[in-house]
Symmetry: C2
Subunit: 350 residues, 2 copies
């Protein structure tokens, strides 16, 4: 199938589509009973590292909902392990790192990975999924952005105030730059390997960069994010996503990406006007809205679609990952609402 | 002393001052060894509830640093206890509530307090501090905003995603409105009692409201915040503070306040331009900057002062509360830098 026929890829390129395409961050996840059934048998990392399981989980939401893209099941921390960073997923706590990075020699020890050799299971999973969904919907690959990964490595896990990350940034610039440089090099290789393996779009998650002031983002982060996105090239569309700081939108555009992913803290129509219409946008339903009721979901969907209008280049998504206790039937309703309302609006305006 | 002589109060009213006044959120706190010494003997709540101790802690940073205002030592959760909400401060975990609010009858049980009778220790502490600092600097009183307090009551503590709060808001509007209404009534009484006891300015902390979209803020929160601020009247200046969502600034202004407190996620000069110059602004150094080095603090202080210019109506502060491990000598340096650089700029422009 000609890739230009997929509404998701067309919207990434700001080409007209018969309806607004939709996918959901973390759409393969705990809110699905099929996922929870598998998780009883395997740990999260076991599922990431087994290509057949990862492919199976990737396909679970695709089989159940009329989503316009699949996203490979993995985790942004996956490339850190072959770099030499050891961590585990502690029950209910998120990732816990065995040793946090503190100084230049810790950075020097980090390996620049060879993705196809070091993370073969992901590349295999991508190939399996591609075969399964060929001609139906496209497959998205992804990575964390340099800042978000550097924050995990420096904090030794998730953080509230990012004191260690920012202190490294402010107090030891050479080490910070060396760390960001090495992570950036790894991400360029990692994302290009995913593209070679078959992903048809990329999302770069800068999930925690919203803790920075615009000036700090520009000085300490933007050059590295830009390097990664420039290094991925233009062969597939790239979505650049962050949360919690609408003040960074213009700078994120400058760093790169064909699509800017925005969270719900900003009106997406206003965000698009600020960014300019030479870039596509993705978002931005508050994930908590999916807890319902359905009438509220419908009202909020219409509000978002009305706010962006029928200009080509909007991909519907949540403003952050779907939450574990989200009712699956509300997800089904959401996908249908987005398709129906957006195609109806397009027909009326013809 | 004529109150119009205090630079802090003058800046709140956008009157010219010889230098930019500065105070720091949570300036009486764990970063001070004098505070830690007292905390070895008393729990946090014991210190809040003993007027002499609360006054002593309030004065600790005033004696050590050339701050332009004192803020009474207390906690935003204090008025919840006489309302009938039971909680404790668990070690290292923040507040833990014994029972989270779930339904209408839980709201009905909440008492509307008589602040002078129910919280006499705070009023006494205010009177003690006022006597001590009379003629030197003014005293700020404070409360949480309705949303932030409602989120604690509903979540049963601090929250990551505010699922319970937003679910109540979305799924049971009558209960949400009743809860916000009752909290608002309490806050009006609470803040007016602080004013009667002697505070010369008020800060309303809507610390967690940044988790909301602008539309949700406008629909579910703004009317109650406005009610509180209208109910406090114009006898003392009111600072309206929130974090993590610069997209709410214009709506916060609409809700009320003589000063809008902004966090570091936005350039404060741009925030002021957006808000309009008929309101004062407070902020916005990232608290992590205070970990140093001193050269960096100086650079960032100048950046903030240059960004607002010498237009009257800027109060220097952090973008959120000072962090526990902040070096006290950096705080001293910060206060001096703000005074020196801002008075120097004013002299040069004469």
């Amino acid at each position: 199938m000609n890739e230009d026929r997929y509404p998701f890829l067309r919207a990434c390129r700001r080409q007209p589509t018969p309806y607004t395409p939709i996918w959901l961050m973390r759409q393969a996840g705990r809110y699905m009973k099929e996922y929870r059934a598998l998780r009883k048998k395997y740990s999260f990392l076991e599922m990431c590292k087994n290509p057949e399981l990862a492919a199976q989980v990737t396909l679970q939401p695709i089989e159940k909902f009329k989503l316009d893209a699949a996203i490979i099941f993995s985790d942004i921390l996956i490339p850190l392990e072959p770099m030499g960073v050891e961590f585990e997923f502690a029950k209910g706590e998120g990732p816990v790192f065995h040793r946090a990075l503190r100084e230049k020699k810790d950075v020097e020890k980090l390996r620049v990975i060879e993705p196809e050799e070091d993370i073969p299971y992901l590349m295999k999973a991508i190939q399996i999924v591609r075969k399964e969904i060929e001609g139906k919907i496209p497959l998205i690959g992804f990575s964390g952005a340099p800042f978000t990964l550097a924050s995990y490595v420096t904090e030794g896990g998730h953080s509230k105030n990012y004191i260690l990350t920012k202190s490294l940034m402010y107090q030891d610039r050479p080490t910070w730059d060396a760390l960001m440089e090495k992570i950036s090099e790894v991400l360029i290789r990692y994302l290009n390997a995913q593209i070679r393996s078959g992903v048809q779009a990329i999302q770069v998650f800068d999930s925690w960069v919203g803790c920075l002031s615009p000036d700090d983002y520009e000085e300490y982060v933007l050059p590295f994010s830009k390097k990664v996105m420039d290094g991925v090239g233009k062969s597939v569309p790239l979505i650049h996503f962050a949360t919690s700081n609408s003040g960074l939108l213009e700078l994120m555009k400058h760093a790169g990406g064909d699509v800017i992913g925005v969270d719900w803290r900003v009106n997406i129509g206003e965000a698009w006007a600020r960014l300019g219409y030479d870039i596509a946008v993705q978002g931005n339903l508050d994930p908590v809205i999916l807890f319902g009721p359905v009438g509220l979901i419908e009202k909020e969907v219409k509000k978002i679609l009305d706010s962006v209008g029928d200009r080509p280049g909007h991909i519907f998504n949540l403003g952050h990952g779907i939450l574990p206790n989200t009712p699956a039937d509300h997800v089904a309703a959401l996908v249908d609402m987005v398709h129906e309302y957006s195609s109806q609006v397009r027909q009326e305006r013809r």
